[in-house]
């Protein structure tokens, strides 16, 4: 299948992109790695009149520490982040699930976050860690917390003229632990369900927790019911199991060719418990 005709602009700078999006935002798509956009164009699921290629512009490819966060430029590939020295274990264990060896060489972190695929791993992890995205337009710049990023499947709260320029990933401090868990039918395929957990412990008790699940709704979701089971509990297997059971009871899930809603709920519960167990282990240091 071939894409519908479109006009192509190779952007030379962020300002150039913002100008093009300011003028044609409603009909334009931003092309970064293209590992999600181009399949959708080939299948005619999207027909942008204008494709703005941002891959040649400088300044969006850095990974740098920034006041307790890791700032990841929009054009950093999933492969480059995977290879980054000292990368947080939860991020490191999430990336190999993101597409395949070859697609990770072009697929970008910013693209994955901005695309809003409801089963995607990076949006779920950004949400669970409490990260954010910096977006710019000719009207200015703003930081969008991950909680406010997703409004539906493939739909974000970004306006048509806004460009995601970097994402910020809070770095764990001593006493904090995070983990990611997933099951897919084949390595690299769309996940049946995935889960992430972020918690803080002191003196054998869990002081604060965030739990997220992916591929159970039209966007990644935080599950406060599961986080409440963890908060105030003693570190241990009972807390992990209670969080998993609470997640299973709280989420709805959906049926498709690969799994029933009931199976997804059950699986999400198992994965939440697995992530919580691992996060506690890491928090203990």
């Amino acid at each position: 299948m071939k894409p519908a005709p479109f006009a192509y602009e190779r952007a030379e700078s962020v300002e150039h992109v913002l100008g093009l999006l300011g003028e044609h935002g409603d009909q334009a798509s931003v092309l970064a790695g293209g590992q999600s956009l181009v399949p959708m164009m080939n299948m005619r699921q999207v027909r942008p009149a204008l494709v703005v290629d941002i891959t040649r512009i400088g300044g969006l490819g850095a990974i740098e520490p920034d006041d307790g966060e890791l700032r990841v430029g929009a054009l950093v590939t999933q492969f480059a982040l995977e290879r980054h020295d000292g990368l947080e274990p939860a991020v490191a264990e999430c990336l190999p699930y993101t597409g395949h060896y070859v697609t990770r060489h072009r697929g970008t972190v910013g693209g994955s976050v901005a695309h809003g695929e409801p089963r995607a791993e990076l949006p779920l992890l950004l949400l669970t860690l409490g990260g954010s995205a910096r977006v710019r337009s000719v009207r200015g710049a703003r930081d969008v917390p991950a909680e406010e990023l997703y409004v539906g499947a493939y739909q974000t709260s970004l306006a048509a003229d806004e460009l995601l320029v970097h994402t910020s990933w809070p770095v764990a401090v001593p006493g904090e632990g995070r983990a990611f868990a997933e099951l897919a039918q084949r390595h690299g395929d769309y996940t049946l369900a995935c889960a992430a957990c972020h918690l803080r412990i002191a003196d054998g008790r869990i002081l604060a927790a965030r739990v997220g699940v992916g591929a159970t709704a039209d966007r990644p979701l935080l599950v406060p019911e599961a986080a409440r089971e963890l908060e105030g509990s003693s570190v241990g297997e009972a807390a992990a199991r209670a969080a998993g059971a609470a997640a299973e009871a709280a989420i709805e899930g959906y049926d498709d060719l690969h799994a029933s809603a009931a199976y997804r709920r059950r699986l999400a519960g198992v994965l939440v418990a697995r992530a919580a167990r691992q996060a506690m282990e890491r928090a203990r240091g």
Partner: protein, 156 residues
């Protein structure tokens, strides 16, 4: 906004190629239909099967997920560019010897993707090889012989 053809210059397997392409022309179609390099196989045309994998700028890429216009100024390597004056590469020989192909449709993509893995990870483990191959669909072999062949080069 125009959909007019754009002039591009791409170095393909070491040779400079100039052409005019409409933006919607996929790199896979440019390689096959404009340059006649039919070793780049097209299976699914939406990034799933891996048969069209080539290298662009030293990195592996699905040629069906790139527009030819994006390759302007880049170096592209296809399966035709692997074997040199000394004949087949070690990986090509290993696939032949280990019976790592039957119909051969997936083989060009596997040669490029596995070659890239071995260049970055010369001692890649069997698990790493299998994870990489999950993105390269083969419907004949059951994969064991392909993994054996790649592992033979990794362990050499």
């Amino acid at each position: 906004m125009a959909e007019d053809p754009v002039a591009i210059e791409v170095t393909v397997n070491g040779a400079a190629r100039r052409d005019w392409v409409t933006p919607r022309l996929l790199l896979s179609d440019f390689l096959r239909h404009r340059l006649g390099l039919t070793g780049t196989h097209v299976g699914c045309e939406h990034g799933v099967c891996g048969a069209c994998t080539v290298r662009v700028g030293g990195r592996p890429a699905r040629a069906c997920l790139m527009f030819a216009v994006q390759a302007d100024g880049e170096e592209v390597q296809t399966v035709e560019g692997l074997a040199g004056e000394h004949g087949l590469t070690a990986l090509q020989r290993a696939l032949h010897e280990a019976h790592g192909l039957q119909c051969g449709f997936c083989t060009p993509g596997i040669l490029i993707a596995a070659g890239d893995l071995l260049e970055r990870r010369p001692n890649a483990s069997r698990a790493e090889i299998e994870a990489m191959l999950s993105g390269q669909i083969c419907r004949c072999t059951g994969y064991k012989a392909i993994v054996d062949a790649i592992e033979r080069v990794a362990g050499a």
